[in-house]
């Protein structure tokens, strides 16, 4: 006697799982321009690599003890490979009860689910494909009592942020727990027009505040990505979002106990691009294209921007130098002269934390006139957010290489370099620095002298010119108050040389980073 009958039953039960919420619900999902969770997993991972866990879970219907059907649990999860590397992956099945939480004895996914345990215990990245609104009031009716918030707590989700890369794709509408789960990630991406994210959706907003608003207006990418920075990146399609997830993971180690993957690089480390010599205009009022500058310095086609549409006075990008993963932080002179506002500060903090956690050295390309000024900036607590950026930079222990392209002023400038440590800082000939810019600074420091002068405006100009003589970066280099002034064309070779030398330090300081103190 074999177990053929039971083997057949396994196949039959798996077939129920493959039907998701049934043809009608699957059609509705497709009509909304969205993939099903199974299509999403298949679209993201290496072909044939998905090893599902918990495929038989669901609510079964029996008649006289004979199985009639199984409605699968609204969460699909398991192991898979992305570019040959193992990941834990899972996502809500919106076609089953709108992807709401499942009252099983052990959760498959979401916060505290098995998918998180897989990532934690095997030390592999976690990919969440989010499409659900979390709890439902109907579960209280099923249980017979109400639960405290956090019965499935975020403890594991938080722990994972210090252990393995966590990526969340917001693929549909995410509210409540799943929305919160998305935020507890190292990288998030959503899909233009077909995905939304918020703490609570339109019905709750209407009931609480009387506001009538569509879910796209409340939590579409224009709000969540462009204005709020709740989600890092937006993709045109679900397929494009999968591409961004794969790309992000290509820069990441499997966990904090490993180094990020270094790849063979065909772009010469000593490539000296002639364009760099003239990319910064001699006229101080004229900006230039920092993204272009970054692309000339980094390995060809290696840049991947995080949060390109938020906090735009700053550019944060993963990239490679001579095949080694680096995090590049650059100010964008096209947006408010690169002045650091609250959004830019938050972006810089997140990116420094990300790089520090995964032992990715940081390259600063500095052109910052200081914190953003003005009433609006003060009301937005720019000073506090900005000092948080300083705090994050001072606490980071990965090597930091600072290249001052043009302006490096004030406390925002201090957030870009370690003044006394081993981490090098060098300047381009176009560089200028100080505690504050000469314009404005002169007016404040020499107020009486200027006022007493017969021609105050002329005296102010005169004083500015006198002080500007001391602003030459060469004078600072003479005093070894900056390590070097380099020919802009040498930037790539310089960075590659020192990043290469830092590999030993990185390889011998692996593991989780301790958290201490209070971020202001």
């Amino acid at each position: 006697m074999s177990w053929q009958a039971e083997a057949d039953e396994i196949a039959r039960r798996r077939a129920f799982a493959d039907q998701l919420g049934g043809p009608e619900m699957v059609a509705r999902q497709h009509d909304a321009g969205r993939m099903t969770i199974r299509e999403r997993v298949a679209g993201l991972v290496d072909q044939g690599s998905f090893q599902e866990v918990g495929r038989l879970t669901g609510s079964a219907k029996y008649a006289d003890g004979v199985l009639q059907s199984v409605t699968p649990a609204p969460y699909v999860m398991g192991l898979a490979r992305i570019d040959g590397r193992d990941v834990a992956i899972g996502g809500e099945d919106f076609t089953v009860r709108g992807g709401t939480s499942w009252g099983s004895s052990r959760r498959k996914g979401g916060q505290g689910g098995l998918v998180e345990d897989l990532a934690h215990n095997y030390r592999i990245p976690l990919v969440n494909l989010i499409d659900g609104s979390g709890g439902s009031v109907t579960s209280a009716e099923r249980r017979g009592y109400s639960v405290l918030p956090g019965i499935h707590g975020f403890e594991q989700s938080v722990r994972l942020l210090g252990e393995v890369p966590v990526v969340s794709g917001v693929m549909g509408t995410a509210a409540g727990g799943p929305a919160g789960r998305a935020i507890l990630s190292h990288f998030t991406v959503m899909v233009k027009n077909t995905s939304q994210v918020f703490a609570a959706g339109p019905p709750v907003v209407k009931r609480s505040l009387g506001q009538q608003i569509t879910k796209e207006d409340l939590g579409g990418s224009k709000v969540a990505v462009d204005l709020a920075g709740t989600i890092d990146n937006v993709a045109e399609t679900e397929q494009a979002a999968f591409g961004q997830i794969r790309r992000f993971l290509s820069y990441m180690p499997q966990n904090v106990w490993e180094l990020p993957p270094t790849i063979a690089c065909s772009d010469p480390a000593d490539r000296a691009d002639e364009e760099l010599l003239s990319i910064v205009p001699r006229e101080r009022r004229k900006p230039y294209n920092m993204r272009r500058l970054m692309s000339l310095v980094a390995d060809k086609d290696s840049l991947f921007e995080i949060q390109p549409r938020f906090g735009r006075a700053l550019i944060t990008s993963l990239g490679r130098m001579d095949g080694q993963v680096v995090g590049i932080i650059a100010n964008n002179p096209m947006i408010y002269g690169g002045a650091m506002d609250g959004a830019a500060a938050r972006k810089q903090i997140h990116f420094i934390d990300l790089c520090d956690c995964f032992h990715i050295p940081i390259v600063f390309l500095v052109d910052v006139p200081g914190f953003m000024v003005g009433l609006q900036a003060e009301q937005a607590a720019t000073l506090r957010d900005g000092m948080r950026a300083v705090h994050a930079a001072m606490q980071a222990t990965v090597p930091i290489l600072t290249v001052i392209i043009r302006k490096c002023y004030g406390m925002a400038g201090m957030a870009t370099c370690d003044k006394n440590g081993l981490d090098l800082k060098v300047g381009w000939p176009s560089a200028e620095w100080g505690s504050l810019p000469i314009e404005g600074g002169v007016a404040a420091a020499f107020r009486r002298e200027i006022e007493r002068s017969p021609d105050p405006a002329a005296r102010e100009k005169e004083l500015e010119a006198e002080l500007r003589e001391y602003a030459s970066p060469f004078r600072t280099a003479e005093a070894f108050a900056i390590e070097d002034i380099i020919d802009p064309r040498e930037t790539r070779a310089f960075l590659c040389r020192f990043l290469n030398a830092a590999r030993g330090r990185l390889a011998t300081s692996l593991g989780p980073k301790p958290k201490y103190g209070v971020r202001p």
Binding site: R285, K286, P287, R312, P333, M334, I335, Y336, G337, A339, P369, E439
Partner: protein
Amino acid sequence: MAKLAAKSEVSGSVWKIEVTLGQKVAEGDTLVLIESMKMEIPVIAEQAGAVASILVAEGDAITEGQSVVTLET
């Protein structure tokens, strides 16, 4: 023919208008310079076209996202 609004990425004041009505522009050309944080920030043509209208004058205060020029593309 489609109308395309060129918008300023920053708040500031209009420093210089670099185009005239009807002028043909190429993608990437500077249309208007905005003075913001002591810098001259260009508003560029995202596509080639002809200047259909100029919505601001030199010295005007403008806000982030404000349209400054429309192009016929």
